[in-house]
């Protein structure tokens, strides 16, 4: 059960721009086991989207993979041909996008689209249709057979996102990437979608890579969590461990900023002052130093390594190194 499905090793991705190379991802290392839900948290622009598009290799033309490996079932995806990569997409790895209002073709019925994504299957049209209806039923769309003939704009946002999940799970993938699937939805729908995902995950036994900036959702859903900041992993580990015993100041402050955590009424919500550093022109030392209130002298010169603090908990901060912080 605990064998590794997706393994990302020292991944470094740059964007070539007129201002020079933008170091979007640096030294990303983490893995996802079969049947496990791993969350990725981080503020906007921290490289979450670059990471998923790199896994699927659906990157912008100016993307350069500088180093590292993305191993899926033991096979490195980066050198694979476009053909082989395409065979993986939607078959072994599929994805649910953030905005359900944009992810369906507006001029085709849901049924046409659900039949189309089964293009690899040799089944007859009627069988494909039956399968599409069954999947719609599985995500809780009432009267699925009739609704197959409707257009996307005839569904609500929450329904559309459930349809997107149904489409992603159609091929029973081993890995489902969920790119902020609840960000565009309101709170009640968010709970619905999360519960549905949990149910389906058990039913289909797929691993989920769940990207979000909603810590509450991550805590609810995930087994493990990876915290990203400015294109690097700064802390990763078991979800309870991270939430109860964060070892990186960024994680700590991220948890403090979560409105769900604030107990007393405040006029101003807490924020982390400062800005994410310019990725084209990275500062020396720790990337979080400018915004960190516990910065040490050594943080200015040396990048803290992502070190194992205990079984399943890693953090990249000098504060955890007694010989430096003492």
């Amino acid at each position: 059960m605990s064998d590794t499905l997706l393994q990302i090793d020292n991944l470094g991705v740059d964007y070539e721009t007129a201002r020079g190379d933008l170091k979007a991802l640096r030294d990303i290392t983490f893995d996802v086991n079969r049947g496990e839900i791993v969350g990725i948290v981080g503020e906007s622009g921290c490289g979450k989207s670059t990471l998923i598009s790199s896994i699927l290799r659906l990157t912008a033309p100016n993307t350069r993979f500088r180093q590292g490996e993305i191993r899926f079932k033991g096979q490195d995806l980066l050198p694979l041909s476009e053909r082989r990569m395409r065979a993986l997409r939607g078959e072994d790895i599929s994805i649910v996008f953030q905005d359900p209002m944009q992810t369906h073709n507006p001029v085709l019925t849901i049924g046409q689209q659900m039949l189309d994504i089964q293009h690899r299957s040799k089944a007859s049209k009627a069988e494909k249709r039956a399968r599409a209806a069954k999947m719609l039923g599985a995500v809780g769309i009432p009267d699925p057979e009739a609704r197959l003939d409707q257009f996307p704009h005839e569904f609500s946002g929450g329904m559309r996102q459930r349809i997107a999940i149904a489409m992603a799970l159609m091929s029973e993938p081993d890995l489902l990437i969920a790119d902020e699937p609840t960000t565009a939805l309101d709170a009640t729908l968010e709970v619905q979608i999360i519960e549905r995902l949990q149910e389906l995950q058990q039913q289909f036994d797929c691993a989920i890579l769940f990207i979000s900036h909603h810590l509450g959702v991550i805590a609810e859903l995930c087994d493990r969590v990876v915290v990203m900041y400015a294109g690097a992993v700064i802390e990763s580990g078991d979800v309870r461990e991270i939430f109860h015993n964060p070892k990186h100041p960024y994680t700590r402050r991220l948890i403090d900023c979560d409105p769900g955590h604030i107990k007393t009424r405040a006029r101003v919500l807490p924020t982390i002052p400062g800005e994410v550093p310019d990725l084209a022109n990275l500062p020396e030392g720790c990337i979080f130093r400018d915004r960190c209130d516990q910065a040490l002298p050594c943080c200015a010169h040396q990048v803290p390594p992502l070190t194992q603090l205990q079984e399943g908990h890693r953090a990249a901060c000098w504060l955890n190194h007694e010989e430096v912080s003492a």
Partner: protein
């Protein structure tokens, strides 16, 4: 198949509900009906001469009078409509299909191919249509096919550019990314997912283009570069009428009125179609 038919009837109902669209539908319907059944509707042989009855005014025998060779103007107008559609429909649909294909390839393919195709489009566009027509006619001689070819060649860039722009916009849309992440290849994305999004816009463009082409055919025939006599054409009728304007006004009326009507009819239809087909406007209904 029943679904696409209901879609078509939905569009037609939408057009008919709009007064201008209804008018366009009636005019275009009449022109197409007359063209299809020209052989049965024409009271006289459109190229049969009857010198005794030359240059007559309208009467019960000759509804729109006769020309200098005694040919029935009304019959010639009807036949001329058939000629006009024989030029306009193949030219416009041919240009639309070629332009659509090239435009989608330019929009979705690699940058160098896009540049090459755009160069091709711009080269064609830089020829003035009438000059191009003159050159081609001088080379191969006037005929129906020549007119169709000239019109088609000069309209390809218009469709190509629109198809390219649409493809470029769609290519970065999230649903296309979603399809790609589901493992769809280029052919599937272009054929299954982009085409239905683009075809509506181009169909509207085509409907609006038909009157231009009819006018162009009439203009070329007026200059003697279009269809060869004695084949009746609205432009040729106008030309004869222009020469004989002192003897009878009816030839000019017979040639001019259908051009005006056809132009208006197709334009109304096109504009109304645009409002109905546009998915953004349709959602609000």
């Amino acid at each position: 198949m029943s679904k696409s038919r209901s879609e078509l009837s939905l569009i037609l109902t939408g057009v008919a509900r709009d007064p201008l669209g209804l008018m366009g539908l009636i005019i275009v319907g009449t022109i197409i009906f007359c063209a299809l059944f020209a052989a049965w509707i024409t009271p006289h042989d459109p190229i049969g001469m009857n010198i005794k009855d030359r240059l007559q005014g309208p009467s019960l025998t000759y509804l729109l009078g006769t020309d200098q060779l005694g040919r029935d103007t009304f019959s010639r107008v009807i036949m001329g409509g058939q000629v006009a559609l024989k030029v306009a429909l193949p030219a416009v649909f041919g240009a639309m299909i070629i332009g659509l294909t090239l435009g989608m390839i330019a929009g979705y393919g690699p940058k160098w191919l896009d540049n090459l195709l755009m160069l091709f489009f711009d080269t064609i566009r830089s020829f003035p249509t009438v000059m191009f027509a003159l050159a081609v006619v001088a080379l191969v001689g006037p005929s129906l096919q020549t007119v169709v070819f000239v019109v088609m060649a000069t309209s390809i860039p218009t469709y190509g550019r629109v198809a390219r722009t649409q493809t470029l916009t769609l290519r970065n849309s999230e649903f296309i990314l979603a399809e790609r992440s589901m493992g769809a290849g280029m052919a599937r994305i272009l054929g299954v997912h982009m085409l239905p999004n683009i075809i509506g816009v181009l169909a509207v463009l085509a409907a609006m283009d038909i009157p231009t082409v009819i006018a162009l055919e009439a203009g070329l025939s007026f200059l003697g570069l279009g269809v060869k006599p004695p084949t009746p054409s609205w432009g040729a009728l106008l030309k004869d009428g222009y020469a004989l304007i002192r003897q009878t006004p009816w030839l000019v009326v017979g040639g001019g009125l259908p051009i005006i009507l056809a132009t208006l009819g197709f334009t109304f239809l096109g504009e109304s179609l645009r409002d109905v087909v546009d998915p953004k406007l349709r959602k609000q209904r």
